[in-house]
Amino acid sequence: MKKERPTFRDELEHLEATVRALEERDIDLDEALKLFEEGVARLKSARSLLQDAEVEVKRVIEQADGTIKTAKLDT
């Protein structure tokens, strides 16, 4: 199955890797600041994903020609 957008797991793993890299002793300050900024951006997107998301519910419909489409489902 193809995945274009990064998954939340990828995001979380990237964030962890960023933090670990920043915790390493042997990096220069420019690199440290870059990592920090990157980490802050990832944190922000992770938090907003968790806090602002709303479940989207769709109904799967098979059409006469066998193709599949989805429609809004009122629950």
Partner: protein, 319 residues
């Protein structure tokens, strides 16, 4: 069969009757005998052809390896698209959506509607599960329904339904009825959940716990930057100290050398000699006049003494 067990049995069954038996197997090695000591005996017509069918289907699935624990796939940690194969009007769907909304709302739920009981439910459910195979980018699927009578849940014991579910290309969770109901779909799914709500809980992570993880990472991020900056400034301070030390040392050495040279120069200086009362006579072209012959009578010359020069003239020759 022992007499005590036989007495409880009633009239003996007719020849050719299919029965379930509960029996204790014994092997007599020396006689090469295998014995079943039967305790109870139930004609299948009474106990339920259903049960027999179920056992046969289960055996067939097991033969094909569909019940192997190694087949079970892990569920995705953070699904984004979840398919739910169930009745669109059932309590199961409501429960599932409410749990997902509470725990992990960052998902799209695709409901694949199907009848889950009664006439035509088996075909319907199989068709819905086949549809599931064709849905793009679904991370995990929940198949199930709420509680009901054994008849209500029976479609989930269909071998055809179980095989279609087992063929799903994505991890599946089966949740049929209440905790005590175990169906064939439960056995072939990657996970058996006791109820639809439990299936939803298994399908998505808990956002409170994940937020804690994220907060922890945020704290580590802040701390690590602070410590990087601290380390940077400490290093700078150390470098500054060392630089000052090195330069100070260099200056000291240079100064000592200059002092030494100055002392040697001082010792050699002719001025020192002049200070002791000697004088130097030079002619107009600056040549030092060292002999009587050079100091002809009447010659003008300059005399250098300790604190300066004076003009002088030779008045008389050698006396």
């Amino acid at each position: 069969m022992w007499r005590t067990d036989n007495q409880r049995l009633g009239p003996p069954p007719d020849d050719g009757t299919e029965v379930f038996v509960e029996a204790r197997p014994t092997v007599w090695e020396e006689r090469g005998e295998f014995r079943l000591t039967i305790k109870t005996l139930i004609p299948t017509a009474a106990g339920g052809m259903w049960q027999l069918q179920l056992e046969r289907a289960k055996a067939a699935l097991a033969r094909d390896g569909l019940l192997d624990p190694e087949r079970k796939r892990p569920l995705p940690a953070y699904p984004r698209r979840i398919a739910v194969v169930t009745s669109p009007d059932g309590a199961a769907l409501r429960d599932i959506l409410s749990v997902i909304g509470r725990r992990w709302p960052a998902v799209v739920v695709w409901v694949v509607p199907t009848r889950v009981q009664g006439e035509g439910a088996e075909d319907d459910l199989c068709a819905a599960l086949e549809r599931l195979h064709r849905l793009p980018d679904v991370d995990v699927a929940i198949v199930g329904r709420g509680g009901g009578s054994r008849e209500d849940l029976w479609v989930f014991n269909s071998e055809r339904v179980a095989r279609t579910l087992a063929a799903a290309p994505i991890p599946t969770i089966s949740a049929v009825g209440h905790e005590t109901d175990v169906t064939l779909t439960d056995l072939v799914a990657d996970l058996r959940a006791p109820t639809p709500s439990a299936a939803a809980e298994a399908a998505v992570p808990d956002r409170g716990a994940v937020l804690d993880t994220v907060d922890g990472l945020a704290r580590r991020l802040g701390r690590s930057l602070t410590s990087q900056l601290d380390m940077g400034s400490q290093r700078l301070a150390r470098t500054e100290d060392r630089l000052a030390g090195v330069i100070g040392h260099l200056l000291e050495r240079r100064k000592a050398r200059v002092d030494a040279i100055a002392a040697r120069l001082d010792a050699l200086s002719p001025l020192k000699v002049l200070a002791r009362g000697y004088a130097v006579a030079r002619d107009g072209r600056g040549r030092v006049l060292k002999t009587v012959a050079a100091l002809r009578p009447g010659l003008d010359f300059r005399l250098t003494v300790a604190d300066g020069e004076v003009d002088a003239r030779v008045t008389k020759g050698e006396s």
